[in-house]
Symmetry: C2
């Protein structure tokens, strides 16, 4: 499908509309009879109300409707997934020590870690409700299947998150593409792509076979999307969605490019890159006290107010109480980026994204016979060309 202005217009319009419907649904979920917990419900809306693409609601609704299901049938599950997604982001931002989310400070930067953990938990709790409420609209059988898929999804997401945290904890960098793909599939694809599509298909009363075929389309699209998201993060073209440029390198995030570079770098490059990647990003940990005092100590010695022996003793105590914490520097991050460029890792990742997109397209084509010709089916194709356009 060509990427025409009208296709991009459809995409934006469709996404915005779905997002608005889902946000309205989330607002409806907030109980009105809980004035004593008003601050909690206000914070629960903070992330969902920030500007976002609305990809998940659109995937869920478009799949349901392209299969002859109603908007009504998909709306509550779409709201549940959007709540889950935002809860996951809140906890993920704490775990990754992220500063920004959608162009504004992360929730734990605004309100502290305890409040942010609890707001996430409250959103997870609330996300069950629309799935239970949906029984009256789509019946027991499909509702239970959706609950099963969502329970499965939540397990996959936390396993993917655990995998990434374990790599970070153990300083693992020697990873293959399939390790990356497994982590992305579990951590991101399951809740952002596979489940919205599965849930949309189940809400439209489709059987396991069709649901599975669409899920495979979603899986491949999701992997392509994530690779491309990682590429954009490094190439500085991050659009209007507020992530920090190059933030992935500062955070030491395992991306296809970074892993490719680590596999192809010389052993000296690899050693230096590994050392840099193991350093914390600046500002995450309290800065070393010693370095702040050192210039003053020098000055006092110069002015004769402090003897060199006294300075040494002070420095020893300072070093013992606050071991110097090296942090990543902009030069080091530029060094990493240089290695990635030199080893052709960005082009490699773009190529991989295109391969996953091709698989997504093939999977969608296999469903063509039983997807109703409609703007909803067109939307699914447009998503492919949207990601392809980002790959260019």
């Amino acid at each position: 499908m060509p990427d025409t202005p009208s296709a991009s217009g459809l995409l934006t319009g469709y996404l915005d509309e779905c997002r608005a419907l889902v946000v309205e649904e989330i607002r409806r979920l907030v109980p009105a009879d809980r004035p004593h917990a008003a601050f909690l419900y206000e914070l629960m809306l903070e992330y969902p109300l920030r500007e976002a693409k609305g990809l998940r609601p659109a995937l869920c609704i478009a799949t349901c409707r392209a299969l002859g299901g109603t908007l009504e049938a998909a709306l509550r599950p779409a709201a549940a997934l959007e709540l889950y997604h935002n809860a996951f982001l809140i906890h993920d931002d704490i775990e990754d020590e992220s500063h920004l989310r959608r162009g504004r400070p992360t929730l734990h930067h605004l309100h502290g870690v305890p409040v942010a953990i609890n707001v996430g938990d409250a959103m997870l709790a609330l996300s069950l409700q629309p799935l239970l409420d949906n029984i009256g609209f789509i019946g027991l059988g499909p509702s239970l299947r959706i609950l099963q898929v969502v329970a499965h999804m939540a397990r996959e997401s936390s396993e993917g998150q655990a995998l990434e945290l374990e790599w970070i904890r153990r300083g693992v960098w020697a990873l293959e593409d399939e390790d990356y793909v497994r982590m992305v599939e579990q951590k991101t694809c399951w809740y952002s792509f596979i489940t919205p599509v599965k849930v949309g298909a189940i809400a439209a009363r489709q059987d396991e076979r069709r649901t599975g075929m669409l899920a495979e389309f979603a899986r491949c699209l999701g992997i392509a999307f994530q690779i491309q998201d990682d590429v954009l993060n490094l190439s500085g073209d991050v659009g209007a969605y507020g992530k920090e440029i190059g933030g992935d390198l500062w955070e030491g995030k395992r991306t296809l490019m970074l892993l490719h570079m680590m596999r192809h770098a010389t052993s000296e490059e690899r050693a230096e890159a590994g050392r840099i990647l193991s350093l914390p990003r600046p500002g995450v940990h309290p800065s070393a006290q010693g370095s702040a005092l050192e210039p003053l100590l020098e000055q006092l010695v110069t002015e004769g107010e402090l003897l060199p022996g006294g300075r040494e003793r002070l420095l020893r105590v300072l070093a013992a109480s606050h071991p110097p914490r090296e942090e990543k520097t902009p030069e080091q991050v530029r060094f990493l980026l240089g290695l990635i460029q030199r080893h052709g890792s960005l082009d490699y990742a773009r190529q991989k994204a295109r391969e996953w997109l091709r698989r997504a397209e093939e999977s969608l084509t296999a469903c063509e016979g039983w997807l109703l010709p409609s703007e909803h089916r067109t939307l699914l194709h447009t998503l492919l060309s949207y990601v392809l356009q980002r790959v260019k």
Copy 2:
């Protein structure tokens, strides 16, 4: 019911048995085909395997069986609640900056905050599964009612947690008993008492009326239990379950005793108590650098290696970079305890616990006609005398 040795023997035996069954069930839930996430599932078992009373599984199973339901019907929901409970504890320990849980370091102290948040999330995700699996055993209708109750429970817990965090954030100490009761009911009773009993009753296919009557028994028992738990924390008789003695005062936890004391203290006492309570507990924040260096600075001045003017300049820089953070001292905590004793707040709380126990007993008596005479019904009565014994 008299508190005889045999009653206490029944209690311990019953609780241990239920706990063992539920732990076995939780072990069964851990997927065997996930070697790449083995470390995650190992950490998920860490809290459930630590020594614990097993109150929740026993409440759920005893209620179900006293109503003619089978062990089989209650076991999976009991495991779901135990998983939820332990997930909540992991997140709560991070939020409260607690050091110990059941006599061992808290999960985030052992493995860091990111891992601990994710393990909690993974347990929440897994807790849905036994509720869905239970459909095959107790049927669709009761399973859906249980899902509704659990969704409701999760909302109540996070609202209760939000309420307490908001009091902490705003430094609120002027609270009435009903504020405390509301917080405890939401934060603790719902998942520890009300839901185990409700779920047990629904698993035994009881109607709304009976389920509601038993839930009222559980609510009153839970409030009595929590008040008494708070009393024991201050009176140093904490049993074998590993909480820090007086830890509630160090943490500045809102308890019935503390709120009673604050209402009855003189305005001077109240001002001083409020000031102490607003201080952090030691060790939570990095200790002030200045105080560690000060003795050395003194010594250097004494030894003539540093001039007094240089010391002043160093102290100014230290103070500016690390504003001195006052922390609670043992004397201050003893001062709070003294106020609580002087104003009769412990006796007041014990009296309130007895009142709630009386209400619990009345509620249970109202159910007497339709609870089968059995060790399961006896267990529910024994729980009353167990809490009463703790009140003495």
